[in-house]
Amino acid sequence: MIELKGVTKIYELGGEKIYALDNVNLDVEQGDFIAIVGPSGSGKSTLANIIGGLDIPDAGQVLVDGKNITEISDEDLSAFRNRKVGFIFQTFNLHPTYTALENVMIPLMLARVSLKDRRKRATLCLRVVGLKDRMNHLPNQLSGGQRQRVCVARALANNPQIIIADEPTGNLDSKKGGEIVELLKSLNKQSGITLIVITHDQSVAKQAGKIISLRDGQIT
């Protein structure tokens, strides 16, 4: 489904070139559960962002269903992220003045879905993550685990093919973190959504079907 060919990403830091990714080749198949592990600064997030079309490599190709997304317009790339990808972040990044429901509706609003369908779809997503009774709460009225569930619901809104979770359990205790991982796993199993999880947590990585270990921008 997604194929990375010779992907290279370079950052300049104080005049010095740093290879965040160095000639990475990777195949992601539909329904995969991939864990990306590695030390800080090894290029995990960069790899995930490039897979999700949020970042563009300096060299190499990212083929989505055979189409190179490194050369398409901002509009098409944004549409790709909107329809095919769901992002989950360590710091949740929920809109503070939007209710849980309104936060989940953001990707639907960007997709120009009608107000009625937005509400319907967002409610369904919140039910999937078990937050139906909390949908009119603001983020600061929710616990950390609940907030991350809202993020999962938001990632699910447009029925994506792939969910990219960057340290989803990093800000949660192990119990709440475990619940989130279970939730993501069930989505992967039941709906066949491709799951890419960046993690430090070995217990999370162990549950993945495939572990990609990065070091200095290269898969080891």
Binding site: G52, S78, F80, R81, N93, H95, R112
Partner: protein, 502 residues
């Protein structure tokens, strides 16, 4: 995103920083308020003045004057006696002209207009004099619609009656009670005219035998006073021209010169008679020597005894000063003016006046608009500040939106719509406040309006629909422009960096 999604997003974001949003909107409100008030004062003032002229029917009037370029029918009219040579050029305006103008289609009625020669006017029993500024017209004509403060308008049979202006009432302390002027006498004063007097009042003194220069000078110094009964006080506070009005039939009498002069015909006859008598006497003379005595000799014809009263009607001789024609509709004024112009006369319509007035008002409103615009410019800087702050605060949010599939254009629009919405709110708020202020001002004017004198204020605080729309559009546009820079800045953020931003 749909249009209403942008508005919803903007509202949600405003609610995050309520105080800052309020202050930013207030700045625009003050800016738009100053712009609206200044514009509405100008628009209102202009409307008031136009309405005042309209109520007088001034927009339907065409003034016919002599055109100095037109050929004069009667060159003999050019005499040295008249001190105003411009009056002598061009085609004479007389009753024939009057009839011809009246026949032009769409002309309702016409009146001759003459500026009465009287030099000064005063209230009987008062020493203070005013320049007379008295105009004569045909009261029975349906041309003027003089609105009165007291008394009545002139009618066709009024002879020694006058309608005075508000300046007259003001000068003699009758501003508050003009009705008390009615029935009092006004005195119109003329120069002596060198032994000639108006055809009103006593006849001039017959020059004595051998009248010399000193005698004529004394006649000149005597002056003539004409009494006129005040029948009305006209309301000319708008035009403030201080004009008084009399019946043209009376003006004709006042402007007819009555004077003593040797009767040329009688003298000729007298000379002929004298010659004949001399001839007869010559023939009857006994001797040739006797006959020669009858050659020459004083006929005695050129004496005071042969003097006679003469009357010279100036209207017949020189015509009227001008004609004012009333046209049935404002739309026809121009065409009527052209028709009259073709007849060889000068034409003035209120259109020229309105054009002039519009020019002045455009100038003033531009000036005031610039002043109002400066305050809006300051408000625009406030919007830029607010929006730049907002982009900094919302960098992570922008990153998340990008991750969720927002394009650069969408991000730019979110910020621009927000800024435009701030401008829109400021404009609407400014309008509401200024309408409220105008209502208060109206109440105050109603209460204390009399003290404000001649200023026509009834239209101030009326907001024409175009001003309302223009102001809202303008403040919205100012917001949009102010939002441009922050919006572009926000849309260019790298989404990855934005999400990580602390």
């Amino acid at each position: 995103m749909r249009f209403f999604d942008y508005i919803w997003t903007a509202l949600k974001n405003f609610s995050r920083q309520k105080v800052r949003t309020f202050l930013t909107v207030m700045a625009i409100t003050v800016g738009s308020l100053s712009l609206i008030l200044m514009m509405s004062i100008i628009v209102g003032l202009r409307q008031s003045i136009i309405d005042a002229f309209k109520s007088m029917g001034a927009f339907n009037l065409v003034t016919v004057t002599r055109d100095p370029n037109a050929t004069n029918d009667n060159p003999q009219l050019i005499t040295a006696s008249n001190n105003d040579p411009s009056q002598e050029e061009g085609r004479k305006i007389d009753d024939t002209t009057l009839a011809a103008v009246k026949k032009i289609p769409n002309v309702v009625d016409v009146t001759p207009i003459v500026s009465v020669w009287a030099k000064t006017i005063r209230l009987e029993g008062q020493d203070k004099k005013m320049w007379s500024n008295t105009m004569a017209y045909k009261p029975e004509s349906n041309v003027f619609n003089l609105s009165l403060l007291a008394g009545r308008n002139l009618n066709s049979s009024d002879m020694d009656k006058i309608v005075v202006g508000t300046q007259f009432a003001q000068t003699y302390g009758y501003t508050g009670n003009p009705q008390e002027l009615v029935g009092k006498k006004a005195i119109l004063s003329y120069d002596g005219g060198g032994g000639s007097v108006p055809d009103w009042g006593p006849l001039p003194q017959k020059p004595p035998e051998n009248a010399d220069k000193d005698w004529w000078d004394s006649q000149q110094k005597k002056g003539i006073n004409i009494e006129a009964e005040i029948v009305g006080v006209v309301d000319d506070r708008t035009t403030d021209n201080g004009q008084s009005y009399i019946n043209i039939a009376w003006a004709r009498r006042l402007m007819t010169n009555v004077y003593w002069k040797n009767d040329d015909e009688a003298r000729k006859q007298c000379e002929i008679n004298f010659q004949q008598e001399q001839e007869i006497l010559k023939q009857q003379a006994a001797s040739k020597q006797d006959a020669e005595k009858f050659d020459g000799g004083n006929s005695g014809c050129d004496s005071q005894a042969s003097m006679k009263i003469f009357k010279e009607d100036n209207f017949t001789k020189n015509g009227y000063g001008s004609i004012i024609a009333k046209v049935n509709d404002e739309k026809n004024v121009e065409a009527t003016g052209e028709a009259i112009s073709k007849m060889g006369y000068g034409v003035t319509t209120a259109k020229n006046m309105i054009d002039q007035m519009n020019k002045i008002f455009t100038g003033i409103s531009l000036l005031l608009g610039v002043i109002g615009g400066i305050s809006l410019f300051v408000a625009a800087i406030g919007i830029i500040n607010t929006m730049v702050m907002a982009t900094f605060e919302r960098i992570r949010e922008i990153g998340v939106l990008r991750a969720c599939g927002a394009t650069r254009v969408t991000i730019r629009r979110i910020f621009m719509y927000e800024a435009a919405f701030l401008g829109f709110c400021g404009g609407v708020l400014g309008l509401i406040i200024s309408i409220a202020l105008a209502q208060i001002a109206k109440l105050l004017i109603k209460k204390f309006g009399a003290d404000l004198g001649n200023l026509p204020l009834e239209h101030i605080g009326n907001f024409p629909w175009w001003l309302v729309i223009a102001v809202i559009c303008f403040t919205t546009f100012v917001g949009l422009i102010s939002g441009l820079y922050p919006a572009v800045k926000a849309s260019r953020l790298n989404p990855v960096d934005a999400i990580r931003y602390e």
